[in-house]
């Protein structure tokens, strides 16, 4: 058996390694996406005060600390059985909306967007943020950077720090918002709405008006008919901060809707000997392997999945864009993996609009942002939508609030099985009878990048010697050829 290894992937958030196994005839037999193991997280948490968890879990990841901080804070509400005030909830959601603007902007323009904006056929050294700026112009490039920084400034105004927010406490947040801060946020939010519209227009001009791109998006190579998961509000509209978890089947019908505390009744985690990371699947459908369809418990989370799992968006401009996406791509649900990029921009607009709405809500300067704790801590589950998928935190404590048990399902993990399937499908089209097409790196990278994956990004070590590599082994396991990108 031949092994093709792509290690690691450029522009991936967190280290990853792709191994493609060929059968005796030289065609793709299996594809695996592996991540390095980080050990002992549960043990590290056990024995600590549960109030430390928002800070500790935010450090699991340098890319989306806000998502962990928020899920963890909500878990503390549940552990102490305390309901935050309305103002506190709104301020949490406001910070979270700003975080989404920041994170989706980063992904579209810096990580995922280059594939489209610069073009899937462009040489790899062009497919980066500089290529994007060359295409959209320097002024637009500066605009992107400014809007990203403004969103980050909002996060730090409420969260206390730019990188790791420290504001979440059980029953609320640590400090109220001043009127001067509110007014400043409102001004920035107005600009973020315009920026999101600008981004959607850019996508329309560059991608949707180009038939080759649209064909690529809707083509079979990047399509999987799976279940979809996302948080929805009481009207079944997308919500990032709160609500119930809704799952729709591959035909778009509601399969189940459940509160966060019930997650263990609906999700099971598959363990594979070759991966440290688990594969969550829908318990009531069952694990049928790395396959799609109604009989397979594989589901997807993240941008397009949230849109598929909901009936619409809660803000007017995003709702228009939501309808346009489904009209253009042939109705709900959309199964095209590359449409995750488009859905990301619809969500960017929603996040900006929600940010503006909340910044104009007079209640958010209410000084009452923290409710006292009166109950004995025990157990709780907290869920938010991380940009990369539904994020579950679950803690058990003793009566003093000392952590006894921790379980997390992180955003990208929801998509782990689907990512492996997408890589395999992309590779199948490009490896035939032992011949590896030179386009394989681009196409395989595009397959997983749509998911905006972020694995085990807890390390912040400066890079060592790690060029992008494809290793091809012969049937006896001997290295035959090594392709290096840079």
């Amino acid at each position: 058996m031949k092994t093709v290894t792509i290690d690691p992937i450029t522009r991936l958030e967190g280290h990853g390694k792709i191994s493609i196994f060929l059968d005796d005839r030289g065609n793709v037999a299996n594809a695996y996406f592996q991540v390095p193991e980080l050990r002992g997280f549960e043990k590290f948490c056990e024995g600590r005060f549960v109030e430390e968890m928002p800070d500790i879990t935010a450090r699991i990841c340098g890319v989306c600390p806000e998502a962990h901080h928020m899920a963890s804070t909500k878990t503390l509400d549940a552990v102490f059985n305390v309901e935050p005030s309305s103002a506190a909830k709104k301020l949490r959601e406001l910070l979270y909306s700003a975080f989404y603007v920041y994170d989706h902007t980063t992904h579209f323009y810096i990580l995922g967007g280059p594939d489209f904006v610069v073009g899937p056929e462009a040489p790899p050294e062009e497919r980066n943020i500089f290529g994007v700026i060359r295409k959209v112009g320097v002024e637009a490039g500066k605009y992107v950077i400014k809007q990203r920084m403004d969103a980050l400034e909002i996060v730090s105004m409420i969260g206390g720090r730019k990188v790791h927010p420290t504001f979440g406490v059980p029953g609320g947040i640590s400090k109220p918002l001043k009127e001067t801060e509110r007014a400043r946020i409102e001004e920035m939010a107005k600009e973020e709405v315009k920026f999101a519209q600008f981004s959607l227009k850019l996508f329309e001009d560059i991608v949707l008006k180009n038939k080759t791109y649209v064909d690529l998006i809707t083509g079979d190579t990047y399509t999987h008919k799976t279940y979809y998961m996302g948080l929805v509000d009481d009207k079944n509209r997308v919500n990032f901060y709160d609500g119930k978890i809704r799952v729709v089947d591959p035909d778009g019908n509601e399969f189940v809707k459940f509160p966060a505390s019930d997650y263990l009744n609906h999700l099971e985690e598959r363990v594979e000997p070759w991966s440290y990371l688990k594969f969550p699947y829908l318990k009531k459908v069952g694990w049928k392997g790395f396959v799609d369809g109604k009989n397979s418990g594989v589901y997807r989370a993240n941008t397009l999945a949230r849109l598929n799992a909901a009936d619409g968006m809660a803000t007017p401009l995003a709702q228009e864009q939501y309808e346009k996406l489904y009209e253009t791509l042939g109705g709900k649900p959309v199964h095209a993996t590359l449409a995750f990029h488009w859905a990301r921009l619809v969500e960017l607009l929603y996040a900006a609009e929600r940010l503006l709405e909340l910044s104009q809500d007079s209640e958010i300067t209410d000084p009452n942002v923290r409710r006292p704790i009166t109950e004995t801590p025990s157990e709780g589950v907290g869920v938010v939508e991380a940009p990369r998928g539904t994020l579950y935190h679950h803690y058990q404590t003793d009566e003093r609030g000392i952590v006894q048990k921790v379980n997390l399902i992180v955003g990208t993990t929801n998509n782990h099985a689907a990512i492996c399937m997408s890589i395999k499908k992309a590779a199948e089209g490009l490896i035939k009878n032992g011949e590896v097409s030179p386009g394989i790196l681009n196409m395989v990278e595009m397959a997983f990048r749509a998911y905006d994956p972020c694995f085990a990004c807890a390390t912040h070590t400066l890079p060592g010697q790690m060029p992008l590599e494809v290793d091809i082994y012969d049937s006896r396991g001997k290295l035959k050829k090594r392709l290096t990108r840079f």
């Binding site: 920084m149 390390t459 060592g464």
Partner: protein
């Protein structure tokens, strides 16, 4: 009109992943030693890429302290690198949102007036950063103390 020259010391790393937290530890040590210096800020950042660049804006000089894992030298070895030396690693992958060198180039191109005039990176070779712990191993801790001394010396001159 130039006001006062302002220096930032930025400790980078993850303090719950053992030796990866050495940059944070060095920043904390320096914060204590430099309490009276109003011209110096000391910050911690468990992040990379663009987020680091955003922290650096509007300073005259930035000293970054981080862990590095080249796997080619002994643990505890100290590197003092300038951005030009980072050019050779520009296209290398990283666990960050953007690798540091690319983020730096982005800052230089699109916010040139706000970028520091001088950036120095102190990097300490580490080996294992895959287990969650707050413990830093002796060799790396000792190297961290040497970096503290080196930076204090650099600030005096």
């Amino acid at each position: 009109m130039k006001i006062k020259l302002k220096t930032l010391i930025l400790g980078v790393g993850n303090e719950i992943l053992g030796d990866d937290g050495i940059g944070i530890q060095v920043a904390r040590d320096l914060k204590k030693r430099l309490r009276r210096r109003t011209d110096i800020d000391v910050k911690e950042a468990s992040a990379g890429g663009l987020r680091l660049i955003e922290e650096m804006l509007d300073y005259d000089k930035v000293i970054v302290v981080d862990a590095i894992a080249t796997g080619k030298t002994e643990v505890g070895r100290i590197f003092r690198l300038s951005p030009s030396e980072f050019d050779s690693t520009r296209h290398l992958s990283s666990s960050h949102d953007l690798n540091f060198a690319t983020a730096l180039r982005l800052g230089e191109n699109y916010a040139p007036n706000r970028m520091p005039k001088e950036i120095v990176v102190y990097a300490i070779e580490i080996k294992d950063f895959s287990v969650f712990t707050k413990r830093i191993t002796a060799k790396v801790r000792e190297a961290g103390l040497r970096v503290v001394d080196a930076i204090l010396k650099e600030l005096e001159s």
